[in-house]
């Protein structure tokens, strides 16, 4: 493990007992309130930095007691951004519950197509809606301009491509799952529909355009990243282990494969491990200041075993893409690391777009596969009490683990979502940024902006699947060694940044 010494020092305070535990207002649990706490020592150095994410309480309770056959549909309600990932992870777990060890070719390919559509649309949303403003305009651009609206204003063609790429991915999901949302396509042991010729031709009509736009997006991102390499290589960069699925031959894989973990230099930690044994490979640590668990690689322990998942981990981990344009781009990406996996937070955006391009290419290949039109949709075997499904969701590896009783009701559920897998990696990136940009004892808007950019690279699920209006503020808090709040900044949903008076929860002028 070659973690930067400064980052390692910041991981935990030497005397945590003297630091105040941050209480999280119950209201924030349903409102997706992001909060970052920076803890300083007496010499104005940051001792700890923490991103508080509180949304993942209650998932298991939500699932327990439900019949297993409801799971693939029900779990879509856990996340409004990547419901298909939950749908497919649950379906893979329930395949095992019904003893379906090998799906029919039609069922597996329809599911793969659905997953590619989901990843394409999610990546398009992330890049065009969220990341491109930072990258096209720079982090110091005015907040009022540095957003998707600014992109639309200055680069309308790029913005339009983003919307239409995402719409195309949504159409792939609709065709394969039967509905725009709450689809029922994947069921225990297979799927409930294949594609018709008309549906296949409908998707084929636009797929070349999607590939072309995907290629354009990768080139744009690569150009931006390499145009200011010193800055982009350094920003939010932390040495992390990486975890992802890979195919049997080490190829990039989103739907099904073995687990591979590598160290920051690309050395093997484990490889091609059956994900049904994930609980022997990974452990989850509980920390008193967070509702979210901190997973780590068991063989390395909690201090050195935390890891990164998601596009950056996947593209670093795989040996190749099996689609030509994405593979060509992966080679450029790999070369940029100069013999070492890229660790820069902003390289995540580059990796994400290579994946987007791969999805468009792979959708085209699958649409030409006659198995998609087959009518052999399901298999069943002997029922089992335990099922574990894993997919690579857009933001990273997603684990669904269920155990059922004799009546088929869920008695135990354990979910490790991408944001949980990335928990420590996100904190490490934020710490790196805060250590670099915090000056003195006063929080500033540029510091808040830079921390936001680091958060965006991971796009954590701060507000999983609830969106009542007036939400998504971000709060930044600076606390001294005695637990006193030195400064607080609050950024509201409208983008306005305000300083909050100590001892209150309300912004002041």
């Amino acid at each position: 493990m070659h973690r930067h010494p400064e980052v390692a020092r910041l991981e935990s305070a030497p005397e945590p007992a003297g630091l105040r535990r941050v209480a999280i207002d119950p209201l924030t649990r349903v409102e997706g309130h992001g909060k970052v706490t920076l803890l300083q020592d007496n010499h104005n150095r940051i001792q700890q930095a923490r991103l508080h994410i509180v949304e993942f309480r209650g998932f298991e309770k939500f699932i327990q007691g439900r019949p297993y056959w409801e799971l693939p549909v029900m779990v879509q309600r856990l996340c409004g951004i990547c419901p298909v990932s939950h749908h497919l992870a649950a379906a893979k777990a329930t395949d095992q519950l019904v003893g379906a060890d090998q799906l029919t070719p039609t069922a597996e390919k329809v599911r793969r197509l659905m997953h590619l559509g989901q990843t394409l649309q999610s990546h398009a949303l992330h890049f065009f809606h969220l990341s491109s403003p930072d990258l096209l305009f720079g982090f110091d651009d005015a907040v009022a301009h540095r957003n998707i609206i600014g992109v639309i204003q200055d680069h309308p063609e790029i913005a339009k491509q983003g919307v239409l790429l995402r719409k195309y991915g949504q159409e792939v999901i609709r065709v394969t799952s039967g509905k725009r949302i709450h689809g029922t396509g994947a069921i225990p042991g297979g799927v409930n529909k294949a594609l018709t010729v008309a549906e296949r031709d409908y998707l084929l009509a636009d797929v070349e355009q999607m590939i072309a736009w995907g290629e354009t997006a990768v080139q744009l991102m690569k150009r931006v990243f390499l145009s200011n390499p010193d800055y982009h290589y350094r920003f939010g960069a932390v040495d992390a282990n990486t975890l992802s699925l890979v195919g049997p031959d080490g190829a990039f894989e989103l739907y099904h494969g073995g687990l591979r973990a590598r160290d920051p230099d690309g050395g093997e930690i484990f490889d091609h491990q059956d994900y049904r044994q994930y609980d022997e490979l990974l452990r989850e640590e509980i920390k008193p200041w967070s509702y979210m668990k901190f997973p780590f690689i068991a063989s390395l322990g909690p201090e050195a075993g935390w890891y990164r998942v998601g596009p950056l981990a996947r593209v670093n981990n795989c040996e190749r893409f099996d689609t030509p344009l994405a593979e060509q781009e992966r080679e450029d990406f790999r070369a940029a690391g100069e013999g070492r996996p890229l660790q820069a937070a902003l390289a995540t955006h580059w990796a994400r777009l290579i994946e987007l391009l791969h999805c468009a290419e792979a959708i085209k290949e699958l649409l030409h596969d006659p198995d998609l039109l087959g009518d052999d949709l399901m298999v069943v075997g002997d029922r089992r009490p335990k099922g574990i499904g894993v997919v690579e969701a857009p933001r990273g590896t997603l684990f669904h683990h269920y155990e059922i009783d004799e009546d088929g009701l869920v008695r135990k559920a354990n979910l490790i979502v991408s944001t949980t897998n990335n928990n420590q990696a996100m904190n490490a990136s934020i710490r790196q940024v805060a250590a670099h940009y915090l000056d003195g004892r006063e929080l500033t808007e540029p510091l808040l902006n830079h921390i936001e950019v680091a958060i965006r690279a991971y796009d954590p699920c701060l507000s999983c699947a609830t969106h009542a209006m007036g939400q998504m503020p971000l709060e930044l808090e600076l606390v001294d060694a005695a637990g006193r709040c030195l400064d607080r900044l609050y950024k509201g949903p409208d983008g306005r940044v305000e300083r909050i008076a100590e001892g209150t929860d309300s912004p002041v002028a």
């Binding site: 992001g34 939500f62 309308p156 699947a465 009542a468």
Partner: protein, 183 residues
């Protein structure tokens, strides 16, 4: 293409966040099982639902004469409220939200022209925990909001049926207003 779109968004499994989809379900029930008059009047209404607004929803607004978005609101000081939506810039640090105003802004700036007159029906919600049903208070507000929207939609549809341009659809009534706020 139905001239009127009602689009309710929220998560059906997050307590009162389900208010938008619940309103859509009520209208869908009327479309399917209401009286012949109700079914007829709701024929020109398309109902959509999703977890939250995203940029591609701009494409669902194309070709409409009027659009109603419906969402839960934890801060409202009334059971429900209908307001015109103004195109707006709303920055965010996650992909997990898009405001109604930003959706209209996107519509106009990806080459779709001027968006249709659009309104947001906010319904007061109270509890948003995963797995919770609608709260009693939210259910009461939903009843009021459904009655209000049903009355509004059917009266406008009736005008259309008699050959008169519906007031909510009517470009002449609203275009000065929209021209004024559209930039």
């Amino acid at each position: 293409m139905a001239p009127l779109l009602v689009f309710g968004y929220g998560n059906p499994s997050r307590g009162d966040d389900a208010l938008g989809p619940a309103l859509i379900q009520r209208l869908a029930d009327l479309q399917a099982e209401g009286s012949p008059a109700e079914r007829s009047l709701l024929q020109g209404v398309e109902l959509l639902t999703d977890f939250q607004l995203q940029p591609e929803h701009a494409l669902d607004l194309v070709g409409r004469e009027v659009v109603f978005l419906v969402d839960a609101d934890a801060s409202l000081d009334a059971p429900y409220r209908l307001e015109p939506i103004l195109p707006a810039q709303t920055p965010s640090y996650t992909t997990h939200e898009m405001s109604p105003g930003a959706l209209l802004w996107v519509y106009g700036h990806i080459g779709l022209g001027q968006p249709p007159p659009s309104y947001l029906l906010r319904i007061r919600g109270f509890h948003f925990a995963l797995g919770d049903p609608l709260s009693t208070s939210a259910r009461h507000n939903l009843d009021l909001a459904v009655a209000f929207l049903e009355s509004l939609v059917t009266s406008e549809s009736r005008r259309c049926a008699h050959g008169r341009h519906a007031s909510f659809y009517c470009a002449s009534r609203w275009s000065p207003y929209w021209s004024a706020i559209w930039r």
